[in-house]
Structure formats: structure tokens, C-alpha cells
Amino acid sequence: MTAFNPQLDQQGRLKHFLSTEGLNRQILSTILDYAESFAGVGDRAVKKVPLLRGKTVVNLFFEPSTRTRTTFELAAKRLSADVLNINIAASAANKGETLQDTLHTLEAMHCDMFVVRHGNSGAAHFIASQVAENIHVINAGDGSHAHPTQAMLDMFTIRRHKPDFAPLRVAIVGDIAHSRVARSEIHALNVLGVSDIRVIAPKTLLPKNIENLGVRVFHDLAEGLQDVDVITMLRLQRERIKNAVLPSEHEYFSCFGLTEKRLGVAKPDVIVMHPGPINRGIEIDSQVADGERSVILQQVSHGIAIRMAVMAMVMGSAPSEKPGEKAGGG
């Protein structure tokens, strides 16, 4: 890791949110604390706070995603920001304009924040390196690299059920190799002090040297789930079978699919998470997905609070004329 962290400003405040890697425990905990405050906003008569009034948030999506875009949009609107949704599918028609051209066009429209989803790992870092000083970038998923807000809403969900991170055993099951959620979760869990992080997958779905990220590797589900407090199931993409990474969905489910029976070896109060959308009967059985151990729907609603927290934090790091002045006091 280079000493320079593009996510932080000179005062060490969160300026862009690109990855859970390289951020300290205090910043991650603050995100969770803010999210706790924002969680109540949705229950009020007026589901808005005026923090980002007059600011423009651009959802810049180079990859289609209804769920993530919707929660970011709702989060921005609950902060009173104006939201612009731009979907740039990777179609041939758009090839002429470079990513830089697109960014500069949007900058000229005086936007304040880009929420970026892109198919290439490192896209959010690249965009953060290109935008003007006063623009903030939030990574809404880049390639197989990072999906930090998803990881933080998972941390939020874990903390609501199990307030002390240190003694937890957490298992992440499935396509780790192609999962930006898994990478961001692993970093966040490590930073928050979780002592036992496990990844469970067939060898073809595990990146080489994954153990260097501070995880224990299991190829057997029953072994890996032994006494765990938290399970994250990852979505299995169909092309893994087409590309000869796996033989069939059936065999995958029979080896790595989460069923009530398999849940038996975990702690009795285990929680089951899934970043969605769920493939029922492929990575998870409906009985588990809809069962009492599942917190999958809570994750979705926590997603809004987390995204509000992150947006408010990065926007709050705007260059201040008189730092520390207490204009709101009295």
C-alpha cells in the first residue's frame, strides 16, 4: 500500500469512499455510528434532512444495477440532494467518448458527487484521480475490486445483531474470486477486529494468495461453517458454468448451497446475509433465505442509512474556509 491514500483529505477526513481497505477502525466505526443516526429518518413524517440541500449527486452507472442505484438515489434524496441518474451501458455507440470526456462534461454541470459503478476494477480510483478537487467520489462497485458501501451495510447489520466484533467468526461462501463484496467485507472485518474470517469455496472460485488478505480458506462447507456467528452467501453468476469454472448449478448447490440442515453446525444464533439478488436453490435454499436466521431484508433497509452516512461524511470534508468555526452554535 502506498503511503498516500486517495480516500482521505489532508486532515485525514474521508473525501472519497473507494474501498474499505486502508481506512482505520475509527473511520469505519464513524460510518456505522452515523448510519445509526440516519436510520431513524425513514420513520419520520418528513423522510428528509437538509444536509445536502442544493447539492447535486450523479449516479454514474456503467453497469446496470437497479438495486444499488435505487438505494443510493433514495439516500441522496433523504439528504435533500438533487439526483441525476446516468446509465452508460457499454454499447458501441458510446465508445467514441472517453471516460474522461464524460467526467469533464458532468463537472461542467457543477455536480458535487459521483456515485460510480463500473465493470473495471480500479475505475472508481481512476475517476477520483481525474475529478476536480471539490468533487467527491463514492464507489458503488468496480469490477471484482470493491463495493465498500455494501460491505459497510453488512457490518452495520452484523453490529445490530452482535455488537462486539472481536470474538466473531464470520464465513463468506461462494464466488470469492469475482466478488467485490467479498473483498470489501474481508478488509472491513479485519479493520473492525474480527478474529476469525473464513472463505469457503471450490478452488476455482478462490483467487490465488487470498489467505494473504487475512482469511482462513475452506473447501468444505460443513467444516467452514463450524461455530460461525455470521454467514455471507455470495451470488453465483451463470457464466461460471459456461466458462468451465464449475460443472453445474446442481453440483454447486449440493456442495456449497446453504440449507437448514447445513446451518446446524453454525452457532444457534447465526445470522445469514446475502448481498442480493438471490439465486434460490443455487447458493441458498428458500427455507434459509426466508427463515428466521436470515437478515437479508434488513440489509436492504440498512443500505439506505449507510449510504446516507457515507454521502454526508464525504461531503462534510469539503474544503472549509475557516476550519473549526462554530457557526451553528448557540
Binding site: E21, T98, H118, S121, G122, P207, I210
Partner: protein, 425 residues
């Protein structure tokens, strides 16, 4: 022009010269090295203070980008950069557009070269038409036009039968085939070394086996076809070991490494540094040391710049969407001389890998300072310190991974064919 270089430290591995003295040049040829010549009248005298006088560098891979990619660089711009570095002969791969698969393209390159006249350019002909890996090119005509060898550049021939036929046919022309060992299936969509950094960055990895299985396949076909083969840009420890073993078995193979791979590793890619997006990829520290050891032991014969100038847009994108390659001509000499200080290499070994050995691989009459030889040489001054500034590179490609690196030494003069083509102010 008659030139006398006074009081240099002449190092020429080909002729085993290593000592202080003068060099005499006339009519484009070297007249005398160290042996004093009474009555020599020089039109130009360069008086040195023990700076190194070396045979001109023979660079086995410089992408000139012309014809076809003039928005990246041109023969004129890159010849200028070559002269500044002390490269007096360079081999350009055939992946221009059009591809060097007809004599017309070779002629075009030569015409441009004569007009610029700052370095000698030796094209490699395409092994297959359009580098498509299917039909053979007219190798006889290409050789006749001036191609010094054949290659499929960085476009591996997937079909093993086609590779066998290409090697077999090329074997009849007594020129080497340059092979960039890469198994395209194993490389797949990879953009960096498959290892701990790719695992973290979520970038698709290129396993070491993408190189080693390709070397292994090629070695067996080389044995079968009897072709003289040169392996371009080794990147892995295993690859070096395989070449070493093949040499011990007496196979007619040689190998080179790009300068970046002797200095950088996968760790330099961290932070999605697209300037370190190279092909073959930068691998581990262990691999880097194995490449250095291979150079020391002779398993690796030559070091080239693997110069790949790019326009700004080529590197300004998310990592996986950027083009691989680095602009390296201007750092080749200083980084090589630096190996003496940092890794205890002898200057003789360093210059061998830059001059006579690559000349022998490419079958060039170059790389030696001896009476009667072409007067291609450069003077290197280890006292001239400078800092690499991407924007100030002479090459049209500003894509350097070495931006802001301190360099201990610089080429002060380059003489091509008895004429000074570059002089550091």
C-alpha cells in the same frame, strides 16, 4: 568525419577491451581503439575524463508505432529518443499497421529511417499474415527486403500445428524466430500477475503458467524443427530455469528480458498504476531476482528496453482498460549501468547484454569496437545525475513507470556511422 575521442574508458565485451585510451574514427568506421595513431588529424576531438566509451546499444525491441499508430509515436520521434539513449541499432516488432508482412512495409520503414538517420532500424517480419496465426508470410521476400528475423509479436499463435509449420518454414532461412511466450487461454482476460496483489485489487490475473507452458511447447517444437529461436521478455523464475535447461541441452535458443522487469514487481501495480501495466506482467520479487540471476549466469542473453510509447489516452482509463507497455528507451542505459552499483554486476556483463549479445541474436554486424567496424558507439557519463520527468522525455510516449526516479548517469554522446547524432548539452 574524422573524430578522435580522447581519454575515455573504453569497454567492449566483444573484443575484451577494458581500459583507458583514445578511439579514432574516420569515414564511418573505427580506425583504432586505444592503440595510438600517429599523425591522425581529427575534425572533431572529444576530450573525456575517463567516461565510458561503449559500443552502441543494440535494442532487441523498440515499438516505433509507425506505420499505423502515428498518434502514439513516429520513426522520427523514437529515433531521436534512441540517439539520446545510445541505442544505435534497434529491432522493431512487426505489429505495426499494416503489419510487417509485405516487403512494402519494410521499405517504408527503411525510407523513413534514412530520412531521419539517427539510429539503425531492423524490422522483424511477421511470422503469419496479419499476425493472425494462420497463413505463413512470404518469408523469402521479407528477408530479401531486410527483415532480420520473424516474429508474431505479442500475438501468440494459438494453433500448435500452425506454429510448428511456421517454425519449420522459417528454419530454412537461417534467421531467428522471436517468440513472445504466452498461452492465450491461460492468460485469458488477465491484466497483471496472478498473485497476492491481483487477489487484493480484484484484477484478472495472468498465471506464471501462461508463460511456462508456452515456453515448454515452443521448446519442443524448436527441437523438432531445428529453428534458431529467441525468447522475448521472460518474466518468471520458472521461465528462466526452463531456458537455462534448454541451453544446457544444446538447443539453439537465446532469451531477453525487458528493463522494467529488472526493477519493478507486481507491487508497483498497487493503487492501479496503469504505467506498470505491462505484458508480460510484472511478477513477484522472487521472479525479479531470478531474472537478475539469469542475466548474471548467462541464461538470459540480452536486456532490451521493450519500448512501447503510448498516447496519453492509452493509459488514462481504469487499469484493465489501459494499453500495456512502457516508454523506456531513455532509461535503458542508466538503469543498466546502475546494476553495477545495486547488484554488483560487472560493466562487462552489463554491456554484453546490451551490445554484442543482442547483435549476435539478431545476426547484426554491430556491437563491437574494433578497427574496421562501423563507428556506432556511445559515451556514458556516470557523473551526470538527472531525474526522470515524464513530460520531458524525448520519446513521444510519456508513459514511464520511472517518473521522478533519480538516475545516476546519462549518455553524453551517441555516434552513429561515424557522426555525432546526439550530444548532451
Amino acid at each position: 568525419m574524422r573524430i578522435k575521442i580522447n581519454n575515455g574508458h573504453v569497454i567492449c565485451p566483444a573484443t575484451r577491451v577494458d581500459g583507458r585510451g583514445d578511439v579514432y574514427i574516420a569515414d564511418g568506421k573505427i580506425i583504432s581503439v586505444i592503440d595510438p595513431m600517429e599523425g591522425f588529424t581529427a575534425e572533431l576531438e572529444l576530450t573525456l575524463n575517463g567516461q565510458y566509451v561503449c559500443p552502441g546499444i543494440v535494442d532487441l525491441s523498440v515499438h516505433l508505432r509507425e506505420p499505423g499508430f502515428e498518434h502514439k509515436a513516429t520513426i522520427a520521434s523514437e529515433s531521436e529518443a534512441a540517439a539520446r539513449s545510445g541505442v544505435t541499432s534497434l529491432v522493431c516488432p512487426p505489429d505495426t499497421w499494416p503489419v510487417i508482412d509485405t516487403p512494402a512495409v519494410v521499405e517504408l520503414i527503411h525510407q523513413r529511417q534514412y530520412r531521419v538517420d539517427k539510429t539503425r532500424i531492423y524490422p522483424l517480419g511477421a511470422l503469419t499474415k496479419g499476425l493472425a496465426g494462420e497463413q505463413l508470410t512470404e518469408m523469402a521476400a521479407l528477408k530479401q527486403a531486410g527483415c532480420i528475423g520473424f516474429s508474431n509479436a505479442c500475438r501468440p499463435i494459438v494453433n500448435t500445428e500452425a506454429l510448428r509449420r511456421a517454425l519449420e518454414y522459417a528454419a530454412g532461412f537461417a534467421v531467428p524466430v522471436f517468440i513472445s511466450p504466452e498461452d492465450s487461454y491461460l492468460k485469458n482476460n488477465g491484466v497483471m500477475h496472478e498473485g497476492q496483489i491481483s487477489a487484493r485489487l480484484g484484477l484478472p490475473g495472468i498465471p506464471e503458467t501462461a508463460e511456462t507452458t508456452a515456453i515448454s511447447r515452443a521448446l519442443l517444437l524448436i527441437e523438432q524443427t531445428g529453428v534458431t529461436a529467441h525468447f522475448c521478455r521472460l518474466s518468471s523464475a520458472r521461465g528462466v530455469a526452463m531456458i537455462k535447461e534448454a541451453k544446457q541441452q544444446g538447443l539453439p535458443v537465446t532469451a531477453d528480458v525487458g528493463i522494467c522487469h529488472l526493477y519493478l514487481t507486481e507491487i508497483d501495480v498497487d493503487g492501479f498504476n496503469s504505467q506498470c501495466h505491462l505484458l508480460p506482467p510484472l511478477r513477484t520479487d522472487r521472479d525479479k531476482h531470478a531474472l537478475l540471476d539469469g542475466l548474471r549466469s548467462g541464461a538470459i542473453d540480452a536486456v532490451c528496453s521493450d519500448h512501447q510509447p503510448h498516447d496519453e489516452d492509452a493509459k488514462a482509463a481504469p487499469f484493465g482498460a489501459t494499453e500495456p507497455g512502457a516508454s523506456t528507451l531513455e532509461v535503458l542505459a542508466p538503469l543498466m549501468f546502475n546494476l553495477a552499483d545495486t547488484h554488483g554486476f560487472s560493466l562487462e556483463r552489463i554491456l554484453r547484454a546490451l551490445t554484442c549479445q543482442p547483435a549476435a541474436i539478431a545476426g547484426l554486424d554491430a556491437g563491437a569496437l574494433e578497427p574496421g567496424a562501423k563507428a556506432d558507439l556511445f559515451i556514458f557519463d556516470t557523473n551526470r545525475q538527472w531525474t526522470v520527468k515524464a513530460d520531458e522525455l524525448t520519446s513521444a510516449g510519456k508513459n514511464t513507470p520511472f517518473d521522478n526516479w533519480e538516475m545516476n548517469g546519462k549518455t553524453s554522446h551517441t555516434i552513429l556511422n561515424g557522426k555525432v547524432v546526439y550530444e548532451d548539452p
